[in-house]
């Protein structure tokens, strides 16, 4: 039993959540490749196909000496990167006590909400939900930052920059991996997006 705990603790567990089309798979790719670049075993799990058509999407990434399951159990997530506020609520209970919850301050209404059949949780609902949760929660204006850069789509990379502030990995490694994963003509704006998220978050800590 103790060894299982040790295994779980030896691994660093990330979950990236959001809405299909928000760049979750790219973010998870970068995260996995960064782990590999710093010499760790990595596994990444995600789902393609129907789930990606505007649905709720989750990707698991694990770093460790030797990673077994690509899926992470609830209670074993160290860092939850949420690209959307409702999805943050949906998956926050996967965090371990003391885990880090990074939320892109952005809302996308599910179709049941926009067609008037459901209600999107209010600010007050959210505050109440998180009130008793023992997590480190940061709300990031990633969408705004991306908009300032002139390309809202890079908000996923702003979020990666934010996450990087919590990890002991050289900035160069992140930037190299990001550059290798985006088309060259978007390299500059993605590197800027990363730096913006990172600098902003380092300022908060």
């Amino acid at each position: 039993m103790n060894q299982r705990r040790e295994t779980a603790q030896a691994a660093t567990n990330f979950v990236v959540v959001g809405v299909g089309g928000q760049g979750i798979l790219l973010a998870a790719d970068v995260l996995a490749l960064v782990g590999m670049r710093i010499g760790l075993d990595v596994k990444k799990a995600e789902v393609h196909g129907m789930a990606q058509r505007g649905g709720s999407v989750i990707s698991h990434v694990r770093w460790g000496e030797h990673v077994m399951s690509p899926l992470i159990s609830a209670g074993e997530v160290d860092h939850l990167l949420a690209f959307e506020r409702l999805e943050a609520l949906r998956y926050a209970e996967m965090l371990r006590p003391g885990g880090t919850l990074l939320i892109n301050d952005y809302r996308i209404a599910p179709i049941s909400v926009s067609s008037g059949n459901d209600i999107y949780p209010s600010d007050a609902d959210e505050e109440k939900a998180y009130a008793s949760a023992t997590v480190h929660r940061y709300c990031i204006q990633a969408m705004e930052m991306a908009r300032e850069l002139g390309q809202v789509r890079v908000n996923n990379v702003v979020m990666l920059g934010t996450l990087s502030a919590f990890l002991d990995v050289p900035e160069d490694v992140w930037l190299e991996v990001i550059s290798s994963r985006v088309p060259e003509r978007y390299g500059e704006i993605n590197r800027k997006a990363f730096a913006l998220g990172r600098t902003h978050t380092l300022g908060l800590l």
Binding site: M36, V47, M50, M68, P70, G75, L89, A109, I111, V152
Partner: protein
């Protein structure tokens, strides 16, 4: 060299390293990326076929011709290919052949979660199952060697969590270039012509093969024993091995890389060394049943679920319930005081051309027999316009059956272009032959959209992106014998309604080809132009919100007379298809021409 590869990418790499010359398949989640990864690799020919049966026959033909081959499909594709799968097991082959089949436990993107290992036993075909991307790569070569040694096709069964999980792979040596010489075709009619007389001689060969493979499997290094604490022995396979290993780090393991046939001696030895034996397997109790048939006691599905995907969490919870683990082994979790959260199921994209058809069939109150593709999502509220979905190509036959049985409402079949080529053609031929007044609506969005835009016989391009003649739907449908054929633009609601109304009045079969490319294709994206609501005109009737477009939102502004929220349009999501603008009774949503005129003024 080490690379981070998905299981699918690893299978492709494995096929290339192992000298596969011909690979064929039909796209289907979670298998699609295998052929996409393979397509640009040198020295190997890969193609999308109209369906999995054709793909399997192509692979069989290549293997009969003396070249290594691979057929690729998802689990339900193997149903389509089953006929070919069985005869290939009867005849054997001249060179190695592997069927890479991706099951979808949990049905992330499928209509069922059948366990393909049952086909292995059914057709007497050996089945290999990797637990990592490394094994997914290596097992392609192992499967081909086995195929040649035992003269049988081999099933490489992967699952969603293998296909779409990435792990680190040590690449093997690059394949040697072919000498360019085609082998002569070896004729052997007693082996390859399955008339009853020959088939009677082949059936015993097929039956005798399995005990020989089982004997070999006792020694195979991918069937491995990892001894630990002997109070509990766990037999497991595939991704379930990773989950079980994480939940029971101290237990003894028998990890099966071949799950049909099982290695009898290995399992008997393992069972004799442990106090209790459990089987952790995803979906069916295929391993458990075989072990019990050997007369060895074990527990499996009495502890772990038969339905759905496993996870470390599920394995742990089941083990706790069965008393195999202490309650304290459960990780501590954060708890939130959550309100009820609106679900977020997948939806038809903003600007999806299928929407124009569904709005109209709903308006005309048509009962709609549906099929497999993005358009299946038309069943969801607020559209609620599709009423059945069973399997690829089922819609047209179903609609014909509805017609022959007779119902009070008018009805139609909807089927995508790729699905029509897959298995819709014989069903439409049946309508022409047996004459019903069925309306067949072919949703021609010029691609296989749901699986991520693969080419098909109607797109004019091959898997490699090479130009090829495209099969046009209208002449094809006419050639099948359908007299009334119409082509409509689904963005033009008035036209769609006029044509469908005409079809519902006909006594003979009709086909409506709804032609508009998928809104996610680059050719469509360049035309994206966000529409906007004239808030002064909007009367908050919410008609536009019932078209089920994710770009249509509730505005913060309220219509004073009713107190209801007006509509707003998300400029990031809207593509400018104008469907909402056409349903608006007060012209509150600006058409593209109006937006363009405004922008022209600004410029």
């Amino acid at each position: 060299m080490k690379r981070l590869l998905s299981g699918n990418q690893a299978v492709a790499r494995g096929a290339w390293e192992a000298g596969v010359r011909v690979a064929a398949g039909y796209p289907g989640t979670p298998s699609t990326e295998i052929l996409e990864t393979l397509a640009p690799m040198p020295g190997i020919y890969a193609e999308w076929c109209p369906n999995e049966k054709v793909a399997t026959d192509v692979a069989v033909g290549a293997a009969y011709a003396g070249s290594r081959s691979m057929a690729v499909m998802k689990h339900v594709g193997l149903n389509v290919a089953a006929d070919s799968f069985f005869y290939a097991s009867m005849t054997g082959l001249e060179a190695g052949m592997v069927i890479a089949c991706a099951d979808d436990p949990g049905m992330h993107s499928s209509q069922g979660e059948q366990d393909s290992r049952r086909y292995a036993k059914f057709a007497r075909v050996p089945c290999l199952e990797p637990s990592t991307s490394q094994e997914a790569k290596d097992m392609v070569g192992i499967a081909l060697d086995l195929s040649e040694e035992f003269d049988t096709p081999v099933l490489l069964r992967i699952t969603t969590r293998i296909s779409h999980s990435h792990s680190i792979v040590e690449l093997g040596p690059e394949r040697e270039p072919s000498n360019g010489q085609a082998p002569p075709y070896r004729v052997d009619t007693t082996k390859y012509v399955m008339v009853p007389g020959n088939a009677l001689r082949r059936h015993p060969v097929m039956e005798e093969r399995i005990p020989r493979v089982a004997e070999y499997a006792n020694q195979a290094d991918y069937n491995r024993i990892e001894m630990g604490d002997t109070s509990l022995g766990i037999v497991t396979h595939g991704i379930a091995y990773q989950y079980a290993k994480e939940v029971f780090p101290h237990a003894s393991f028998c990890r099966l890389g071949m799950t049909y046939p099982l290695p009898p001696q290995l399992i008997a030895d393992f069972a004799s060394q442990v106090d209790g034996l459990i089987v952790v397997e995803e979906l069916d109790p295929a391993i458990e049943e075989e072990i019990k048939l050997m007369g060895i006691a074990c527990e499996g599905k009495s502890i772990f679920p038969m339905v759905g995907e496993l996870s470390p969490e599920i394995v742990r919870e089941c083990a706790i319930s069965a008393g195999l683990l202490a309650e304290s082994s459960r990780p501590q979790q954060v708890h939130l005081d959550l309100p009820s959260l609106p679900p977020r199921p997948p939806v038809l994209c903003p600007g999806c051309p299928h929407r124009g058809i569904f709005i109209t069939t709903r308006k005309l109150n048509l009962v709609v027999s549906g099929d497999i593709g993005c358009y299946t999502l038309g069943f969801l509220p607020p559209l609620g316009a599709l009423h059945t979905c069973g399997c690829m190509g089922a819609s047209i036959g179903q609609a014909h059956g509805v017609s022959k049985a007779g119902i009070q409402q008018k009805h139609a079949a909807v089927i995508g272009d790729s699905t029509f080529f897959h298995t819709g053609i014989p069903a439409l031929l049946n309508i022409a032959y047996n004459q019903s007044n069925t309306i067949t609506i072919i949703l021609d969005n010029r691609t296989t959209a749901m699986t991520g835009h693969q080419h098909h016989p109607g797109t004019g391009y091959t898997l490699q992106g090479q130009e090829t003649p495209s099969t046009e739907l209208e002449p094809l449908v006419r050639a099948l014998g359908i007299p009334n054929v119409y082509t409509v633009d689904p963005y033009n609601l008035a036209q769609v309604e006029e044509v469908l109304r005409e079809c519902t009045g006909l006594d003979s079969p009709s086909a409506v080809i709804s032609q508009r490319e998928c809104v996610l294709l680059p050719a469509a994206r360049v035309r994206n132009l966000a529409l906007r609501v004239d808030v002064d005109k909007c009367i908050a009737c919410s008609t536009c919100r019932r078209v089920g477009c994710p770009a249509i939102l509730k505005s913060d502004e309220v219509y004073p007379r009713t107190g209801r929220a007006k509509t707003a349009i998300d400029p990031l999501l809207c593509t400018g298809c104008e469907i909402c603008a056409q349903v608006c009774s007060v012209n509150a949503i600006l058409f593209r021409s109006q937006i363009e005129a405004e922008q022209g003024v600004e410029a």
